[in-house]
Amino acid sequence: MIPLAIEAQLFGLTGFALGMLFAYIAELRRRANQWKKEI
């Protein structure tokens, strides 16, 4: 059984990773749109 405090940290870390992923995907989409506009 993982202690509750560690669980909370893992939980937080997962949220952080997801946030980074969202930002990355958003930037990729923005670049793809810009590229399409240039062409």
Partner: protein, 165 residues
């Protein structure tokens, strides 16, 4: 799943921090694009080089030799694109010409509508062949025809045929 109920604010805060940090890491920064050719700025329009030939005496001799050789072989050895005769036009006004395509045309010394309008079918074809990803646009979008309208300043005729500017 009891801890989810207890720690959801932790997750939420971490998610927000993640998005902010992600934005800071992946945000667009100033980019430098390196190209082989110098971009043509409006004030440089009159100085656009019409061909890649040099101007030294050896280049002149080489050009003369290829002229004679071309005459004998009956092939065109020099670019015969009509030169610019005034301030540059915005080539993007032509339907089917975007910023990239206009830049490619500019790099080949084409900056005015009348230059395109004066192209012979042969010249338009050879220019089209050099347009890489945009190959075929000249015929598809009738760019020479469009340019003839705009070179004359016949906006009404242009709009009647190709839609509003």
């Amino acid at each position: 799943m009891a801890f989810v109920e207890i720690y959801w604010p932790v997750f939420l805060v971490a998610l927000i921090i993640g998005v902010i940090v992600g934005y800071l890491v992946f945000r667009p920064r100033q980019r430098v694009r390196l190209t082989d050719s110098t971009p043509i700025r409006p004030h440089m329009a009159t100085a656009v080089r019409r061909s890649g030939e040099g101007r030294l005496i050896t280049d002149e001799v080489a050009a003369a030799a290829s002229d004679v050789a071309g005459d004998i072989l009956r092939v065109r050895v020099h670019e015969q694109l009509p030169g610019a005769s005034g301030p540059p036009d915005d080539l993007r006004q032509l339907k089917g010409v975007g910023p990239k395509f206009a830049e490619m045309l500019n790099q080949r010394g084409i900056i005015r509508f009348d230059q395109i309008a004066k192209l012979s079918p042969d010249q338009a074809e050879s220019l089209d062949a050099a347009m890489g990803a945009f190959r075929g646009r000249f015929a598809r979008d009738r760019i020479v025809e469009q340019a003839q309208f705009l070179a004359r300043g016949d906006v009404d005729g242009f709009e009647a045929k190709f839609g509003s500017l």
